[in-house]
Amino acid sequence: MKKRVSKRAAKASASKTISTWEDDPGSVDQPTGGRLVQRPAPNLSQVPLPTSISNPHRAPAAKLYAPGTPEFRYWAAADALRRGSDYWGALLPGVAWEVGARLPVDLDHGVDLNAYYDRVGLRFFHGTAGGRTLYSGESPDVVCHELGHAVLDSIKPQLWDAASIEIAAFHESFGDMSAVLTALQLPSLRQTVLTETGGVLYRSSRLSRLAEQLGWAIRQDYPTAVDRDCLRNAVNSFFYRDPDTLPSSGPAATLSSEPHSFSRVFTAGFFEALAGMLKARPARDVANLLQVSQDMGRILVSAIRRAAVVPTFYSQVAANMLQLADAQFKGYRQAMKSAFVRHGIVSPAAAVTIPTSVAHARVTSVQPRRLPTVELSVPEYGLGVDSISVHAAAEPKRFEVAGAALAVGSVEPPSEDDAAKSFFEDLMRRGRLKVAGVARARAAISRPHAAETHETYTHELRREGKAIVLRRLRIDCAF
C-alpha cells in the first residue's frame, strides 16, 4: 500500500528534532554504549534517492524518544536512510533505484539476526541473544550497509547475478564502505573518531568497527563467527589471496572465500587509503575529513562504473581508483597506492604502471661479502633504477623441502632469484623499504600507522660505488 505524506506533515517534521545513534547501539564488544545524537527529523520522500518505510506503516510523531522504543527505532532508521541517500545521491546525480522511484524499507520483517537487500527493498529483523532482543534496523551501520547494496545495484546492476566470489565479496565491501562514508557525514562522529585515533585514522575505532551490537548478538551463540569487537572491522591485516586458494568458510580470525569474509580485504585497503588521503591533506581536522570522505566516494563510484566485470574485480576497481585519485587532490594517489599494495589488492609493479611507465637507469653489481649477491631486475617498481644488488640466501640446500600448498603436496620451491625478489617485494608491500635518496621517492609505499618521531624502516636502498644495494637498517617486532 502506498503511504501518503502530506506537504504539511513533511514541513512539520523537518522543523523537529529526533534522537538516534551516531553509528550503532553497541560499543566495542558490548551491546550497549552507543553514542546518542540529536538530528533534524528527516524527510524520506525527498530526492535524491527517496526511500519509504513500509513497516511500520505509520510514522510516529517526530520528537525525541527514548532508546528501546519503537518510535526511537523508526527515527534512527529514517535518519540513517536519509543520510545515506543524501551522501550517495550527491555523488550520483540522476541515478534512480533499481527497484523503482522509492526504495521500500521494512524495519521488522521477522526473526533473524540479519538484514537484506533483495531488489524489492531493504528488510530488517529482530532477534534475541543473551536474553536481549535487538533490531538490526536500529543500527545506522547496518542500515547504511544495506542501502549501499541498493546503491551499487543501481550503478552496476550486472553485479547482481554474477557468479563470482570476488564480485559478491565486493558488493559486501561496498556495503561496509557505505556505512563508513555515511557515518563520516555526521560532524559529531568526525570529531569523535579524530579524537579517538589521534588523527591517525587507520586505527581500530568507532568508525572502523561496524555493527558492534549485531556482532555482539551473533557472538553469543557463535563466538568465532564474527570479529571479537564488532561484526567486521575495517582495520584488519588481511592480504589478498586468490579466492581459489582459500577455504569456503572459517572463523572470523581467518580469511575464507565466503563473500563477507573475503570482503574484508578490499574494505581494509579502502579504509587505509582513506586514512592516507587524510594524512595528505593540509590538516587532519573535521573539515578535511569531510572533504576526504566525499572525495573518496566520488573516486569510488567513478572507478566502479569504469571497472570491467571480471573475476579479479578488486584489482580492476583499485586500478581505476588509482587513475582517478590525483585528479581529486594531489597526494591521494600515493596514499591509495600504498594502501592497495599493502593489502595485496594490486601488486607494486602493477601499481606503478597505472597509468604510465617510468624510465630507468642502469647500475652495476657490488662485490659479495658474506652471502652471495644476486642482481635483481626491478624496473617495474618505479624506483628509477633497472636493478639492485641483494644478498641472497643462495647457499646449497641440505634438504629438498618446501612448505605445504593449500591444496595438495608442496609448493614449488622458488629459485634464489625468485626468493630474493619475493623478499624485496614483500618489503615494499609492507612499507618497510626506505627508498629516498637513491631512488624515486614516489615509488615508496608508506604505512599510515608508522611513527612520526622516528624511522621504522627495516631496509634501505644504499648507493655503494656504482651499485644500489639493499641493506638492512634494523630488526623490529612491531606490526
Binding site: N114, Y116, D161, S164
Partner: protein, 135 residues
C-alpha cells in the same frame, strides 16, 4: 518525434534475440551509428552442482553485437566467457553450498540464504540471487 526503428534497436527485442543464444541482457552500454551495440549480459553456463545435477550459473560477458539495416542481430562477439570466469563460477557455487547460502526448493528464502535454484521454461536449473545479506 522520430519513430523508433524496429528490431533490436528496441531493447525488448534485443533481449529476446540474445535469450535464444542463452544470453541474458543486463544493460546496453553503447550504440554506434554503424549498428554496433556494446552490451553487458550474463551467459548461462553449466557448472558442477553439489547435488550432482546440471546447474546453470550466470557469468558476466561483454558483447559486441552487429545488427543489419533492419536492426536485427547479425553477429554476436564475446558471448563465450573466459575459462577463468567459468572456474570462478564453479567455485562460487561450491562456496554458496558450503555456507548454506544456496536454498533448496522454491518458496520463501530461508534465513542466511542468498541464492535459489529456479527452473526456467526449458526445464533447466538456473542459479538466481534473491538478496544480499548483512552477514
Amino acid at each position: 518525434m522520430r519513430r523508433r526503428k524496429a528490431g533490436v534497436a528496441d531493447e525488448k527485442n534485443l533481449r529476446a534475440a540474445l535469450a535464444k543464444r542463452d544470453l541474458e541482457l543486463v544493460s546496453v552500454d553503447e550504440r554506434s551509428p554503424d549498428g554496433t551495440i556494446v552490451a553487458t549480459a550474463n551467459r548461462l553456463h553449466v557448472v558442477p552442482d553439489p547435488d550432482g545435477k546440471p546447474l546453470y550459473a550466470p557469468i558476466p560477458v561483454t558483447l559486441r553485437i552487429q545488427c543489419d539495416e533492419r536492426g536485427n542481430v547479425r553477429t554476436v562477439a564475446g558471448e563465450t566467457p573466459e575459462a577463468a570466469a567459468i572456474a570462478d563460477a564453479a567455485r562460487f557455487v561450491k562456496s554458496l553450498a558450503d555456507n548454506r547460502q544456496l536454498a533448496a526448493g522454491e518458496g520463501p528464502v530461508p534465513p542466511g540464504a542468498t541464492h535459489q535454484v529456479e527452473i526456467d521454461a526449458k526445464g533447466r536449473r538456473i542459479l538466481r540471487r534473491r538478496r544480499f545479506s548483512a552477514l
